[in-house]
């Protein structure tokens, strides 16, 4: 019994590979995903980017990010395939669903607390845009004051 989870797959294609080769790799991944009854949710191509360090002899590479929903077996297979593909110089799969869920929960919780506190103070639950900006500016000036104090020392 395999559960479906969301993963993020990032792979770096060698700079020698053509545009066509990158597209082929993408369809390859897509096929594997389909074979395992998964879904390819999103694809992002960052294009050619300089690497922070040399991998093999490559100094740059094409970054492709795919968001996939599927089983662990699917990830295993993709991992295996990418490992044996010569044009791929690096790849990484990260499970993201849990992290995103946590982030989402934190966001809604924060919103709720804010709304509750604001209604308790007799304000509308959502802060007005003008209001928020004023708040920010106030904080900034406060910081400036502190910095000034630092200078005086």
């Amino acid at each position: 019994m395999s559960q479906h989870r969301q993963y993020e797959l990032v792979y770096i294609v060698s700079p020698d590979a053509s545009e066509q080769a990158v597209a082929d790799l993408h369809t390859q991944v897509e096929q594997i995903v389909q074979r395992f009854n998964g879904t390819l949710d999103k694809t992002e191509n960052w294009g050619r980017r300089k690497l922070a360090y040399e991998i093999g002899h490559a100094r740059e590479g094409t970054y492709v990010i795919e968001t996939i929903t599927g089983s662990g077996e699917m990830v295993k297979e993709i991992d295996r395939r990418l490992r044996v593909t010569d044009t791929i110089i690096r790849h990484l799969t990260v499970r993201v669903d849990d992290d995103l869920r946590v982030a989402e929960r934190l966001r809604t919780e924060r919103k709720e607390t804010q709304a509750r506190r604001r209604t308790a103070r007799g304000l509308p639950p959502e802060p007005l845009p003008s209001e928020r900006r004023g708040d920010r500016d106030d904080n900034d000036s406060d910081d400036m004051g502190l910095e000034g104090a630092e200078g005086v020392r």
Partner: protein, 98 residues
């Protein structure tokens, strides 16, 4: 003292700041109150692909900035750690620079 600090967390920011301003050690060393960047900016998920988010925490040598310097809270430092190591694997951030 630690209890005091814990109590101050939920309360207004102003109080804390005033306190920080008030206690200036005789050593002539004034330390500005550090705030966790991720808490302040309300960043829930530290994305490993966002180099611009991570770069302030990676000084020249390429090491991860310790918590005592950056002021990041424990929870976010942990998340930052994983994010940075992932970014390193993907050659977005160097392992070492010299």
């Amino acid at each position: 003292m630690s209890g005091e600090r814990g109590g101050g967390r939920g309360r207004g920011k102003k109080d804390d700041k005033d306190k920080a301003k008030g206690e200036r050690p005789r050593g002539g060393f004034f330390r500005r109150r550090r705030v966790c960047k991720f808490c302040a900016d309300k960043i829930d998920y530290i994305n490993y692909k966002d180099v611009r988010l991570l770069s302030p925490f990676i000084p020249e040598r390429g090491k991860i900035q310790p918590r005592r310097i950056s002021g990041t809270c424990a929870k976010h430092q942990r998340a930052l750690q994983t994010a940075i190591s992932r970014a390193r694997q993907l050659a977005l951030i160097p392992y070492v620079t010299d």
